[in-house]
Symmetry: C2
Subunit: 255 residues, 2 copies
């Protein structure tokens, strides 16, 4: 179904704008927005096990073919720009909803746990690296940035559609540890050298917040501490870089 | 020497603002700006072999001790904000100049070559990872983002002060290759698996631009092609992530 709206005061336009800018609007409607052709194309080409496209929204001058089975809204360019979150809008966005899933705890596999990670670009990049390296999921612990924030979605470059990302509470995490998972924290000092360490097939890798590192409660529960060896002139690495280095090493070393 | 300026129309204020916003102003004066306490503290604590602090500029409410040997300019908070490049300015910036150095080509060591890299955050993060991993320098090839752009400097988190970064022309690069360097390009497809590869002590690692990857002229000259193994759901990695994974692996594997 293709419909056209021309007025920027139409309630649907207001709703789309709210989805772009407001976490509350996303939570209440259980939908979020993905903007840009590359990510949307990924979702159209490869059926995602975790998300559905509810609606496509395009600018009037959009000229690439789109599937006719998806509800599509056509807007004048100036109205499209009002709901777009990016500077040079390509003229396409999609309203996406998560598929209802049973929320289960990990029983085996390698998971990335982000401890109060605040930066949207870091979260998106880490989701992309987790999918790329073959990690089994991303756990959000504490007060992390919301994963459906448009900047997060954009920096995943379409990979969010293939990634299990969920919030984990302290009791859930500690129950998981009782199931035999290693809690492996990354620390700037006094951990085992990443390149000397061996990793269990049941590992939760913890990356701390940009400002404060790994929180004390997780450090105390850690069964393993690792350190990426750094030259003295460099105090620390960016959180997304550190997490990606660890994930790719853990998946590809000792082969 | 401590001086105070109160008017935002003072020519010195205009000059500082230009250093923040204009590449031309930075090139003409051969100085640039570093903003934020963390980076400046690094420069004050550890003498940089490559850069001098010419001047400190602080907001009137700055209250941490500073060395009295450096020319210091004190500004009212509202004037400081006018020259600041960040949202929540901390109230300190430094004007920095490069130390005159002989511009020599690498004779041995591991170097990162960035091929038309455009994103300031990626360049800054890659400089940080190059210093952290112990790479010997960063070569800028083609039309890369200017390394003295404030966003680049900020994302290096102070490590630019310990990093050799220079522009390399095609003839200089090709002469370096004649000196026995491997030109090792990273590619999404059909390269040798990074984790199976061995690396020479004379290697130039090439990371391509965000939009177009490694340019054809460098691909043709490559003596080695490597690929980071990726799951099919993830087409590529962020340039800063890919470069950092390769550098840390090359420096720490096979020990």
């Amino acid at each position: 179904m293709i419909r056209e709206i021309t007025s920027s005061t139409n309630p649907q336009i207001k709703h789309l704008r709210a989805l772009s800018s407001s976490k509350k609007a996303r939570q209440e409607s259980d939908t979020f927005i993905i903007e840009g052709w590359r990510g949307i194309q990924t979702l159209l080409d490869h059926k995602s096990p975790y998300y559905n496209i509810e609606q496509l929204v395009i600018s009037k001058d959009w000229n690439k073919p789109l599937p006719q089975t998806i509800d599509t809204l056509v807007l004048p360019a100036h109205v499209f720009e009002k709901i777009s979150d990016v500077r040079n809008a390509q003229g396409i966005l999609a309203v996406v909803s998560p598929i209802e899933m049973e929320h289960t705890l990990p029983t085996t596999g390698k998971f990335l746990l982000l401890d109060n990670l605040r930066d949207p670009g870091n979260l998106g990049t880490l989701i992309r690296s987790a999918v790329g390296s073959g990690f089994d999921g991303v756990l959000l612990y504490g007060d992390c940035v919301e994963p459906f924030n448009p900047k997060v979605i954009r920096s995943t470059m379409g990979t969010f559609a293939f990634s299990k990302v969920w919030n984990i509470t302290p009791p859930e995490l500690f129950q998981t540890l009782e199931n035999g998972f290693d809690l492996c924290v990354t620390t700037g000092l006094d951990g085992e050298n990443l390149y000397d360490a061996a990793f269990s097939d049941k590992t939760i890798l913890v990356i701390g917040s940009e400002a404060h590192g790994v929180s004390e409660e997780l450090s105390e529960r850690a069964t393993k501490k690792i350190t990426i060896p750094l030259q003295p002139e460099c105090e620390s690495l960016n959180a997304a870089i550190a997490g990606s280095i660890c994930m790719f090493h853990m998946q590809n070393s000792h082969r």
